[in-house]
Symmetry: C2
Subunit: 212 residues, 2 copies
């Protein structure tokens, strides 16, 4: 039995969700709240398995609520359910720790399916939003010139904080040889400093410090 919590200020929507979620054999709504504050004061907050969270709420916003939940009730899986389909809301919610993101016009079938998905370790996201999220992993195709393998290698080294001299020692070039490549990198990335090159290189998925 998946225990569901709903945090949504519109009471008609809240009751509508409650009704069709409770209709499912394996789901039960154990708490339904008009605001985060109300939810956090309840006795059931730590018994919820999956929470459906609106973003635009009175008082504390849904995103702030996710931050709070992540800190105080980290085992609750939170799905955002909202009208906001802009990047800021999407990525702020994911950054805060939401595991799913649904547009409010989602069908009852899709909602219960999403709850099960989230409970089973998945990440239910409305399709066009999911595509938007996945697209952020794609290597940028809008650079006029691609960096060579050598340039990418050097950019990776820049991101580790190494000096030109240390990089040169590692790849068997003089300091000025390294600098020559770095000039090319800056030109291709249309930046003017090491800092900009690193930031842009990571943002455009040319390098990835977590995995390189």
């Amino acid at each position: 039995m998946i225990k569901v919590g709903i945090i949504e200020d519109n009471e008609y929507m809240r009751e509508g969700w409650e009704t069709f979620i409770d209709f499912e054999d394996d789901l039960t709504v154990i708490g339904s709240f008009g605001s985060c504050e109300e939810a956090f004061e309840s006795e059931v907050i730590n018994k919820i398995n999956v929470a459906i969270m609106d973003i635009g709420l009175p008082g504390m916003s849904g995103i702030e609520g996710v931050n709070y939940m992540r800190e105080h009730h980290p085992d609750v899986n939170i799905i955002m359910a909202t009208v906001h389909d802009d990047d800021d809301h999407i990525f702020d919610a994911l950054k805060a720790g939401a595991v799913g993101y649904l547009m409010k016009k989602v069908t009852p079938d899709e909602m219960v399916s999403a709850i099960r998905d989230a409970h089973n370790g998945g990440s239910p996201i409305t399709p066009n939003i999911a595509r938007k999220v996945i697209a952020t992993f794609q290597k940028a195709a809008d650079l006029e010139e691609e960096l060579s393998e050598r340039e990418i290698q050097i950019l990776k080294e820049l991101a580790t904080g190494r000096s030109y001299a240390a990089i040169g020692k590692k790849i068997f070039l003089s300091v000025d040889g390294v600098r020559h490549h770095i000039r090319n990198i800056y030109q291709k990335l249309e930046v003017h400093s090491r800092s900009e090159a690193i930031a842009k290189g990571i943002s455009k998925r040319i390098i990835n410090p977590d995995r390189d």
Copy 2:
């Protein structure tokens, strides 16, 4: 009618997929190949709407194939279907441009549902992989000390390439005042240079150059 292409070196698997995909009213397999090279030489390659792509293929790998498709047939939606559930394969595939990622043990129902999802602008991903992908957006919780708002602001400025003096002018501090904060940032992030701070700040989702 969604036109499907299959690129998979195991012929039994290929035929199995073909059979149940063709069984659907709205799906049809218009091409089935044992390798990327074979697929790219075919006359139907540019008619495919959704391609199911293995990663471990003879000759060109599936990920290299995605890179090629993205360049030559950018309208084809590619779903990886593979046994590899490690980060490198996942993120290399997404980086290359795959819109979906399925573990091979996926059920026939899930596969056809994924094809429709991808065709309709979504991003079908096996649940535990999707969760892993979404988790990369979460702000890191493993830092011993959180950066203050002021420190985050300064880190954002560092990533733009501004000098300490320019940053100080912007936020009404002396160069040495800025430097004082920067020392604190380095300490909290456990880094020793501007470059490392920027790379780590982006990786840990403390700052996001695309949106800041």
